[in-house]
């Protein structure tokens, strides 16, 4: 029974092939096998959002996905958010608005923010708060995070 399985997936735009046990979560695979330690382990049961990544463009908790499930799929982690031109507008806005203190929730917040702006480029404050409800932050009190997402949204829609 069990044994390692080979998984091929597109991770941050590049083909990644790795071996993992079927019971290993995507979070474990990203951090311990692939060395992508941006996604964080918080609660490890889908409550805190620190491990948020995009799976085929959709926000998921990587602690609640098995590594073997991503065969043939596309995953985007915080490591794939900034492009060759530099930081993503959300990352710039988080810095400008001081939307982080300890930083542990930040990769998850940014991925959740990206998933929101991909679908809804100009969200209201209420929409941002609801969308980010699965991402916990114990430092900021959320206001600065919400402001940062709003300011990134404004900047990104102005450019277009």
């Amino acid at each position: 029974m069990t044994g390692k399985q080979k998984v091929s997936a597109i991770i941050n735009g590049e083909l990644a092939e790795f071996l993992c046990e079927p019971h290993q979560s995507l979070l474990e695979c990203l951090r311990d096998i692939l060395g992508l330690t941006g996604a964080k382990e918080g609660c490890n049961d889908g409550n805190c959002g620190a491990c948020s990544v995009l799976l085929d463009g959709r926000l998921v908790n990587s602690c609640l996905v098995l590594g073997v499930e991503i065969e043939g799929r596309e995953v985007t982690t915080i490591e794939g958010l900034a492009g060759w031109q530099g930081l993503h507008p959300l990352q710039q806005a988080f810095i400008a608005e001081d939307a982080l203190q300890c930083g542990y929730c930040t990769p998850g917040m940014l991925m959740a923010g990206k998933a929101l702006l991909d679908r809804n480029p100009n969200p209201t404050e209420a929409e941002i708060r609801t969308w980010l409800s699965g991402n916990l932050c114990r430092c900021t009190g959320y206001d600065k995070i919400v402001r940062a997402v709003r300011s990134a949204s404004k900047r990104m829609t102005e450019v277009v």
Partner: protein, 300 residues
């Protein structure tokens, strides 16, 4: 997590064969938002998880104005909530599907999984019950349909037999002058388990002066999501209004057998049932009055 095997079959028959071969030691994997947590907590051990998300039938959503909605058991709540026909014709279902967990949970969680997890608090179960939903069950001896209202038998227990899985949920086509609403109470806005929940569905006469049929179901206040036929019966034949809503709410509150735990006390839950049933009825009637002839725009 204790190691287990993983298979991702491409057909329902292969999934049934894999599940039947392992009996209690195998389970289907849909969104994984319950089962992976339970496995990690060591609540039970498995030898095999059978991933349903490579089976096209289980990922499909079909809508027909005559026969209604068919939702593959592995369709995530997020995908469901983006479907234009679901948004137009089944707002009462979206009330529940869009409040399960937060964004990332909804990206994975499924109605099939919510039903099979059989939690007393399952938000979508009560919502599906009032809509008259049926679960399509496939197993070694073929297919059968089970009303969602009689699917859960105890906390975490269902009517599923060895080798059986839910492949789809079927919800009847919405009729003119009908409406549904699901509401729940939690201490915070999102990301919590219902302290109490209530779903209501009503059918009105064309002039909206009388209720011709109704269904009420409750969540988190009994060992399974609870159908309350006596509350529904109290509504039929009456004009929709606060007096008759209050009567149905009182009957639902009496029918509830809530436990006392960290989420809420027994008296609080009984009180919440009455409030939620009244508000769900108000919402359902409002939708029924707005819902003149739902089939028409689909036919155009």
């Amino acid at each position: 997590m204790r190691p287990f095997d993983y298979q991702a079959p491409a057909t329902v028959d292969e999934a049934i064969a894999a599940l039947a071969a392992k009996g209690e030691r195998a389970r289907p994997l849909a969104g994984g938002t319950d089962i992976l947590v339970q496995l990690r907590q060591g609540r039970f051990e498995l030898d095999l998880l059978v991933d349903l998300k490579r089976i096209p039938e289980l990922l499909a959503i079909g809508y027909d104005p005559d026969t209604g909605l068919t939702i593959g058991a592995a369709v995530s709540c997020a995908v469901l909530a983006e479907h234009p026909d679901v948004r137009t014709h089944y707002p009462g279902l979206l009330d529940a599907a869009s409040i399960i967990g937060g964004t990332a949970i909804q990206g994975r969680a499924t109605l099939g999984g919510n039903l099979c997890n059989a939690a007393p608090s399952g938000d979508s179960i009560a919502a599906m019950m009032v809509l008259g939903a049926r679960a399509v069950v496939a197993g070694p001896s073929g297919r059968r349909e089970v009303p969602v209202a009689s699917f859960c038998t105890a906390p975490g227990k269902t009517v599923l037999q060895k080798g059986e899985l839910v492949v789809a949920l079927k919800i009847p086509a919405p009729q003119p002058h009908t409406g549904a609403r699901y509401l729940r109470f939690i201490p915070r806005g999102e990301m919590d388990i219902a302290v109490a929940g209530a779903g209501a569905w009503v059918a009105l006469t064309a002039d909206a002066t009388r209720i011709t049929n109704a269904r009420i179901a409750l969540a988190a206040v009994a060992p399974t999501p609870l159908n309350v036929p006596e509350a529904s019966a109290a509504l039929v034949g009456h004009a929709p209004g606060e007096d008759v809503f209050a009567q149905a709410a009182a009957l639902a509150s009496e029918a509830a057998t809530p436990i006392h735990d960290t989420r809420g006390t027994t008296p609080q839950r009984r009180h919440l049932v009455a409030v939620l049933v009244r508000r769900a009825l108000q919402g359902a009637v409002k939708r029924a009055m707005a819902n003149e002839a739902p089939g028409q725009e689909a036919q155009r």
